[in-house]
């Protein structure tokens, strides 16, 4: 058998005979399984609830009686975003970005939370997700197991006889690395199960395999980092101190610094501030209820020219519906400028945070994991855009019905009598113009492309640390 493999299998035998190693791994496994199950249950329940509410909202819209179409514009519609299949593993930003939205005419509402009780299932610890356990606690486990790989031999004075019988430092370190990498594969089993379960729910095999590979890369970075430290330093207390400091810095301190740096370098206006600015701006744009006289005159002239008439009453269409259509179009243009500006700001800020992945592999894996799981900022923006498209389409659809199916004369005289009012109620069949809303994630290739830079960061970490480890291993002395 290959020398490195002999050393690797001996390392495993040591772990299997060490009650401390067994206890730590068992504890980690129990926590990981418990968190995976609870997260999975929580998200499945929320999704079932959201799908149910979504159908209810659609049914409620469709079952509205005959009405004036503009009343339906204000009646509005709720949409709820169901989680992508891999959110069971990495809910990512979903828990902080809101999953439901009220769609109505003349307004772009923010996403809100559909379930306030979402964090109660884990006793307020819903932030503890399987992804978080892999990103923050699995490295700690690798450090606990791996920190002694070389120093233990040195302390037991078994390093000298090993080297003295012709086994090279590189072979010893390669053996320890192989043992820890095999342990990493073992650690990935729960992720493999989670990822495999997402396949029947429509997840793509390419995404699932990519997710497994990036987590293997990330944990391998920790394996090599741990072994580099234990190979280079002589004393156990120094090794533990350095690795503890690295773990704290790379998984907790740097990500926190990155967020603060990003908010300073690429500030994004708060929700209230943005909405106030938008309201100020759109106040000058008509929403169809308060049409500016000169705008109306312009529209009237162009319609007269188009239809070859001289009076509003002679038009083939209801000018009030047309006014609503044009107003909604203009208003949406203005609102979209603000929405795009805010999204660009958020993307800029996220990019600053992501750049810190060159300094912290934990940030790199967090970005790669969310991108692949479709729970990143890009997918949140994707949801907002999908929602806006739906909102615009149904509002404009209703405005079109207003302009085409309701005569101008009936419309302006609707308050004269009950009979005239009833003439403005159009057939409820028209509400069928509302499209079903089902949140669609981007394709696996696009997600993989989004995760490209963080993956490059992890590969760079891996190559750099591997070079250090090889260098240290060739200088290994008892």
């Amino acid at each position: 058998m290959n020398t490195a493999l002999i050393i690797a299998s001996e390392e495993w035998r040591y772990w299997l005979r060490s009650s401390l190693a067994i206890s730590v791994v068992a504890l980690f496994t129990i926590i990981l399984i418990a968190v995976s199950l609870l997260t999975s249950l929580r998200i499945s329940e929320e999704d079932t609830e959201r799908s149910h509410h979504q159908s209810e909202a659609e049914q409620s819209f469709l079952s509205q009686p005959d009405r004036h179409p503009h009343r339906m514009v204000h009646y509005g519609h709720y949409i709820l975003r169901t989680s992508p299949p891999l959110a069971l593993f990495d809910p990512g930003l979903d828990s902080v970005t809101g999953q439901s939205m009220f769609l109505e005419g003349h307004r772009q509402n923010s996403a809100t939370f559909s379930s306030l009780g979402a964090s109660a299932d884990l006793g307020g610890l819903s932030w503890l997700t399987p992804a978080m356990i892999y990103q923050v606690f699995a490295p700690l486990l690798i450090v606990l197991l791996g920190h002694s790989a070389i120093v233990r031999e040195r302390e037991a004075k078994s390093l000298a006889p090993l080297l003295a019988q012709g086994v090279s430092g590189f072979q010893i370190v390669a053996g320890k690395t192989a043992a820890l990498l095999l342990f990493v594969l073992f650690l990935l089993i729960p992720l493999l199960v989670s990822a495999a379960l997402s396949l029947p729910k429509g997840e793509d095999i390419l995404t699932v395999v990519s997710l497994l590979i990036v987590y293997f890369l990330y944990l391998s970075v920790w394996v090599i980092l741990t072994l580099s430290v234990t190979t280079m330093l002589q004393k156990r207390p120094a090794i533990i101190a350095v690795l503890a400091a690295l773990w704290l810095t790379l998984t907790l301190v740097l990500p926190s610094i990155a967020v603060n740096v990003a908010s300073r370098l690429a500030p994004v206006s708060g929700k209230i501030e943005t909405e106030l600015a938008m309201l100020t701006e759109v106040r000058n744009v008509s929403d169809g209820h308060n049409v500016n006289e000169s705008d109306l005159e312009q529209l009237r002239s162009s319609l007269f020219e188009e239809y070859g008439v001289n009076r509003v009453e002679d038009l083939d269409v209801n000018i009030r519906g047309i006014v609503s259509q044009r107003a909604e179009e203009k208003l949406t243009e203005s609102m979209n400028i603000f929405a795009d500006r805010r999204m660009e700001g958020e993307v800029r800020q996220a990019k600053v945070v992501m750049k810190h992945g060159w300094a912290s592999p934990m940030l790199a894996i967090a970005f790669a994991s969310r991108a692949l799981s479709a729970t990143d900022l890009e997918h949140y923006h994707h949801f907002l855009r999908q929602a806006e498209t739906l909102r615009y389409d149904f509002v404009q659809g209703l405005n079109e019905v207003h302009s085409e199916q309701l005569s101008y004369a009936d419309d302006i005289n609707r308050n004269l009598s009950e009979a005239s009012y009833n003439r403005t109620r159009i057939d409820a069949e028209n509400w069928g113009l509302l499209d079903e809303f089902r949140f669609e994630t981007t394709t696996s290739t696009k997600r993989l492309k989004s995760a490209g830079l963080p993956i490059m960061m992890l590969i760079t970490w891996m190559i750099g640390l591997f070079a250090i480890l090889v260098w240290a291993s060739t200088r290994l002395k008892p």
Partner: protein
């Protein structure tokens, strides 16, 4: 350099952290010979062994194993050597068989159960303790497993670092008999020790090391042992300085 010469230090100088630990010592050990390097703490005994193993490259002079300079082929040099550190450095979570199997596998040697039993019999390790983990062993028992490994590896050269330190008198006698037996079967043994009596008991030749210098050499007359009194006098007087 004769064909029987297995180990040679030639004007070996070692400087560590700016301090001269070995000051140009020279000696050689022939096949079938036991050479003891005797000296007090800090005399440079273990440093000499580590130099032969290639762990400490010479600052001056040269070291040869079987006529080949160690630096030119460290791996080959190490393959020819079995090294026993001061405290037998085996794995406590393994039993005697598992330890032997592991080290033999790394040396790319077969695990022959009959040969192992015979070797463990030879080093007088009790049968009922062989399947116990080494964490339950005394120092003497561990030393027996380590020497059994050296025998099983069947190397031509044995480097022993304070091999009897911490052993009880009967274990020391057993160990010396075993070393003598190995030398008689053609093995070359270089041992470092501060045990004057033990060194005289087992060594064919003895070098007295003091502050990194080889200050005296004693040879056992044919068929006899080195005279302990003479070595003791030289060791005590020089050691006291």
């Amino acid at each position: 350099m004769g064909n029987s010469e297995k180990l040679r230090a030639d004007q070996l100088q070692i400087i560590r952290s700016g301090k001269e630990v070995l000051s140009g010592i020279s000696f050689c050990v022939d096949s079938g010979e036991v050479y003891a390097l005797l000296g007090g703490n800090g005399a440079g005994k273990s440093t000499t062994l580590l130099s032969f193993l290639g762990f400490l490259p010479p600052s001056g002079g040269s070291i040869y194993i079987k006529g080949v300079e160690v630096r030119s082929n460290i791996k080959a040099a190490r393959r020819a050597i079995a090294y026993l550190p001061e405290s037998a450095s085996l794995y406590e979570h393994l039993d005697a068989y598992e330890n032997l199997r592991y080290f033999l596998q790394l040396a790319e040697m077969p695990f022959d159960k009959h040969r192992i039993e015979a070797t463990l019999d030879r080093v007088l390790l009790a049968s009922d303790s062989r399947t116990q983990r080494l964490q339950n062993y005394s120092k003497g028992m561990r030393q027996k497993v380590a020497i059994a490994l050296a025998i099983l590896r069947d190397t031509e050269i044995l480097l022993l670092d304070e091999p009897t330190s911490g052993l009880d008198p009967s274990a020391i006698d057993e160990f010396h008999n075993l070393v003598r037996d190995l030398a008689d079967s053609g093995k070359t043994v270089l041992m470092v020790t501060h045990d004057v009596y033990g060194a005289c008991q087992v060594a064919d030749r003895l070098g007295l090391l003091r502050a990194g210098k080889l200050v005296g050499e004693f040879t056992a007359p044919a068929g006899q042992r080195i005279e302990t009194e003479a070595v003791h006098r030289a060791f005590s007087s020089r050691h006291a300085k």
